[in-house]
Symmetry: C2
Subunit: 470 residues, 2 copies
């Protein structure tokens, strides 16, 4: 029952990248647009010059050592609590897309109705460990209310863990207060980790005021954060994948060092989202094989520090749910899974290099998630599994269909597909040979029509509603 393991770097290569990152942090430093963060880091030993913060290697190495290799995020339904870093990847749905692409291929600005549908798809999926964060950007909700309304929708439509707002200290504190209300904590802060938030660096080598503000608020409250870097090799990071890894690593370490300096032991996830630039038009490519290679390599680097890693997802550059979307999504999720990733943001729904989400793609990606999970489970290689006695009994030219062994094992050994079609050609034709996108469309409607919103105490729901201003 060995866990499949993909290795792209040898230890010597990992050490070279890590040494380069420490050199970057010490020599070039990071611009941090947040006075308090700079003060705290300076007090811990960093050199500060204007906005620039230079990190001595010792500070970084000691800070990383304080972060846990695994941690729990508690759900209001205890059955849905998750452990990050325990071996199985946690999947979270697509995050941050401003558009929705319909089954017809048409694309439009996302709305709050789309958001709720996605929260229900996520809530019903046995693969998603997280209900959602910015499932889409609901254009019909005023920007200043959006973060609270989205959080309310995630909290109410699902009893899984959720993601907090990362758009500044104030929004993060709103998220913390709502989480405290949901978990009935008196002091405005949840008593244990109940949410996770996405803190992005600005590549190259910048941390902006909003992200740092949110990071500090969550770290002070002991709530987990993902510190992620998205270098576009050739545009915002070096063209060489080695250079992009070194730069990404430096940025993530800067964020983690800040988080641990604010509060020792803050649960953090090392986040890798870097890929390459399509040089013909300067746009980000998240479906490129180089991006997949970075995913696998980043997981190894994170693990070498004893940190859980976020990378991958069913991500694609395709504008529509087509062949390209399908093979790029499988490539990226499979590579992340095999590399041993701990947390997968964008595990379902993303199209068009993060610009859009498709509800039908969510369903197809959910199938890909379950395929990858089956692969990662592997199989037992014990004496009884090798079945030498059975093979002797069946003998040359025999069959196994009617063997007891078959009936005893096939349900646990074989993954049952939901969408993937294994009918014979004739069966498939006679059953209508409905394209997968249309099957997915039907399933979207079935799930949403039959979705049961999990019980939540009315008084809590009302308080949350009030806090969300709806």
């Amino acid at each position: 029952m060995t866990k499949p393991t993909l290795l792209t770097l040898v230890p010597e290569e990992i050490n070279k990248i890590k040494a380069a990152s420490l050199e970057i942090l010490e020599r070039t430093g990071v611009n941090i647009d947040h006075a308090y963060a700079r003060e705290v880091l300076q007090a811990a030993g960093a050199k500060v010059d204007g906005e620039r913060v230079y990190f001595p290697p010792k500070l970084v190495i000691e800070a990383i050592a304080k972060a846990p290799r695994q941690f729990s995020i508690y759900a209001r339904n205890p059955k849905n609590s998750i452990i990050v870093g325990a071996g199985d990847p946690v999947f979270a749905p697509g995050y941050g897309a401003p558009y929705v692409t319909l089954a017809s291929g048409l694309k439009r600005k996302a709305t709050f109705a789309d958001f709720i549908k996605l929260a229900k798809l996520s809530g019903s999926s046995s693969n998603m460990g997280i209900s959602g964060g910015v499932l889409v950007e609901p254009s019909d909700i005023p920007e200043q209310d959006r973060h609270n309304v989205m959080l309310y929708a995630c909290m109410v439509n699902s009893d899984k863990p959720f993601m907090g707002s990362a758009t500044g200290e104030k929004h993060a504190k709103d998220s913390l207060r709502m989480a405290a209300t949901l978990f009935e904590s008196d002091n405005g802060i949840p008593k244990q980790p109940v949410m996770i938030s996405l803190i992005n660096t600005i590549t190259p080598l910048m941390l902006d005021e909003r992200m740092v503000g949110a990071l500090i608020a969550y770290a002070e409250a002991g709530q987990p954060v993902i510190i992620a870097s998205l270098g576009m090799a050739g545009a915002t990071s070096p063209t060489t994948l080695a250079g992009t890894l070194a730069l990404q690593n430096a940025e993530v370490l800067a964020g983690i060092t800040l988080a641990q300096t604010i509060r020792e032991g803050t649960p953090v996830i090392y986040g890798s989202a870097s890929s390459i630039t399509e040089m013909r038009n300067g746009s980000l490519s998240i479906g490129a094989p180089e991006g997949a290679w970075i995913i696998a390599s980043a997981v190894q680097i994170a693990h070498s520090y004893g940190l859980p890693c976020r990378a991958g997802g069913c991500v694609t550059d395709s504008k529509t749910l087509d062949l390209q979307a399908s093979y790029e999504s499988m490539m990226n999720l499979q590579v992340a899974g095999m590399a041993g990733v701990d947390f997968v943001l964008h595990a379902a729904g993303i199209l068009e290099s993060y610009m859009s989400v498709s509800l039908e793609k969510f369903i197809v990606d959910d199938e890909i998630c379950s395929i990858v999970r089956r692969f990662l489970r592997g199989t037992k290689i014990e004496t009884e599994d090798l079945a030498v006695q059975l093979i002797d009994e069946v003998g040359p030219g025999g069959q196994y269909l009617t063997a007891d062994h078959t009936y005893q094992n096939f349900r646990t050994e074989f993954w049952p597909p939901t969408l993937s079609n294994r009918e014979t050609y004739d069966q498939w034709r006679l059953n209508g040979s409905l394209p997968m996108i249309n099957q997915a469309e039907k399933r979207v409607n079935e799930i949403i029509d039959n979705y049961e919103i999990p019980y939540l105490d009315k008084s809590i729901e009302l308080k949350l509603k009030e806090m969300a201003g709806i």
Copy 2:
């Protein structure tokens, strides 16, 4: 520049499977429907009882040790000669499908015209190392002539290595004579390895007269063979993947033992094609994640014997070129590539669990092959690649687009897609947003219309034509 490596088994598990296979070969044995093969094996130490051959472990272990870890197959154009087992996988197109699925979705019996088109697609592909074998079964050619006509078409339409007929001793000898003619060898046998042939066992534990006859003919002539097993877990092999691996391994070792007993050092490839049975209808599933897991594991087992391995391919259970075909093909090829496979049969074109081939899918799969090859290439992690100096010069908030380093590196570091679309949404819409299947259809026609048949001496061509009876 480490080669990405996927591991699914630890050495202890590999040893357990290998021990089980030796036990199966000694205790249960294999039915071999070929008197001469039984004689040869008996003389080498096997116990024979009727058709049943029992292999002592010593015979098997010694035979495997005689097979080379790598070998060359020489093409008539030396630039197209290949090395099997040298690290990079050799790709060969789909093999043996009786049907062709058209871009319209319609399916019909394959014809010789389809065969020639596929030979040209394969000849033009920079990913395919082999022109073809049974690219499709041409239903319009009488069965007794088919093997020679197909071989002629592969030999003439491409100057890459090709695959010989495996349908019995007579057909194999026809293939050998044609190869000798192409390579101007006088004695009816090519002087060096110039072709490879696919020898399938019949699971469980049988080798039939035709396959053994061909195997012996090729082994005697020093021509490489793939010895492959296709267990359908739950139907023709145990439901447990461990049991299927043990049974598959036993069958492949039986074939390799025979090949090495016939002629020491015969170049052989360990072939794994096993997967699971879809229990709802008893059909073979080649798109299942369990099949992908078997692929990765078989590569490790083969390599532990010091044998090159054939596994994987862009294979799918889907009846049409759709989302399922796309993600299953990527999954299977990627797993094989990462596991370090040496030879990939069915690298392009296969649909419907080997029943059909699609020319458009050939084009899409060719893109998947080149994506996987880019991933497998990895990247260099040397000081200059880490670009610490450049990162310092660019500094926080800078850009890399105009850096010399970018222009020096992006062409070698970034894979240029052919089909995968990385346009912005607006570009994509303005450029017609042509579905990939239609793009592939256009490319099929372009390739075939512009295909230049490589030069071949007229007198040789005429001799081959005569031998093929056309």
